[in-house]
Amino acid sequence: MPSNQDAPLKTYLDHLARGELAYQFSPQAGRAVFYPRMLCPFTGSDRLEWRISKGLGTVYATTVVHPTEGKPFNVALIDCDEGFRMMSRVEDIAPEQVRIGQRVRFRVHQPGGEEPPQPVFVLVEGT
């Protein structure tokens, strides 16, 4: 009996636990694929290679969520330099200071408990 494949999410989270932001690359499409999956959404091919992002990106869109309880916080879409987009947040600055076009760098946030690590971003210094 052939062994079953790992879930794309598991591979992604395993990388994240090692401090790496992993994404997939579709050789046929010649472009990045995110979120990780079994088939390339551009070609339908199941040939997808795992790659590690350099962790640099640009804020594509941003909002400040105002919860009914607790402090406002940032939610952003980040365009990573390798050509994929992901939801995340920009940390270490006030949420309303996050601007579209800002250059950001990936880091891992450990929420603790049973929760998996999260990819978050901080401003690239000097930009």
């Binding site: 594509y60 869109a61 400040v64 105002h66 952003a76 879409l77 939801m87």
Partner: protein, 384 residues
Amino acid sequence: MDALKRGSAAIVGVAESDLGQVAEGMSVFDLMAQGAKRALDDCGLSLKDVDGLFSATTQSRLSVLGLAEYLGINPAFLGSTIVGGSSFEYHVAHAMGAVALGLCNVALIAYGSTQRSVGRKQASMREVNPYETPFKPFMPSSAYALAASRHMHEFGTTREQLAAVAVAAREWALLNPAAWEKKPLTLEGVLSSRMVSYPFTVRDCCLVTDGGGAIVVTSAEHARSLRKPPAYVLGCGQSVTHANISSMPDLTVTGALAAGKAAYAMAKLGSTEVDVVELYDAFTINTILFLEDLGFCKKGEGGAFVSGGRIGPNGSLPVNTNGGGLSYCHPGMYGLFILIEAVRQLRGEGGARQVKNCEVALAHGNGGVLSSQATVILGTQATL
């Protein structure tokens, strides 16, 4: 794809169920049944005529089965496509196809929600997306807020322009006795309200109400023998660009562009021939995006377009004449209500909010987080 024939089917009966805050203990099927009876009465048909049944709701997994059981009918054709608020625009296209193929003759499309009564969390299943949920976006508001942030960045759209959409909706709502909101709203009132997800205050966001309704679709031939003037289906178009906001290709361009293009092509007309526009305004940015993508103004100019009362009761383009999801009602999936209002406008049943010389109506549904877009263009006998 040109399988559907312009004007071959019509919406002949429309009705809302109770709206707003419904009586304690009401179920989604109670509301669907109430809407069904009223919509069938509207066109002079009865349940025994119904051989096609469509429904969608977040509060029942197998809603069309529950509805068939409740109504005591065994329809030959069932449809339960669920693509969020745009489901009912899909149902119209599917009903039209089923009628053309002879799979059914009279299709009833029903909706019900008790989300205000039971709470939004009870009304829809919580879904976890491991790539979005950890960041705690307040969904769906934050997804639309992200789209608004991008529109503001690229085109200089302002919060005041977004607020103008809410003000216009409120002005229309004040002319609609069925509307939830009864008090005037100003730009300042929108801007100074409680912030939800920047740039949206609670007044940039749709209402959370109960409600339901039904519409009846049949062949054009059958339609002509019924009680009310038919609203002929001239064009339909659908487009899906994504499901989750982080996968939307361009946050400033929606699938309404493709959906509208298909609907206009089928209807053999363009945006300048549309007399009344009913858009799915879950958030103020929606109206701006859809006016652009459906060709009522150029991309990026939507903010300026909606300003100065242009889309309000005294403006040059009547948009969301019932008061919209922002001020009339928004029971979870609002798409059925824009069809109801479009038909009423074509019939001249709009009362104080009636648009003059209304021959062509465009109804545009939105589902998910700008994910699914579906356009239905309706016309009077004169447009055939």
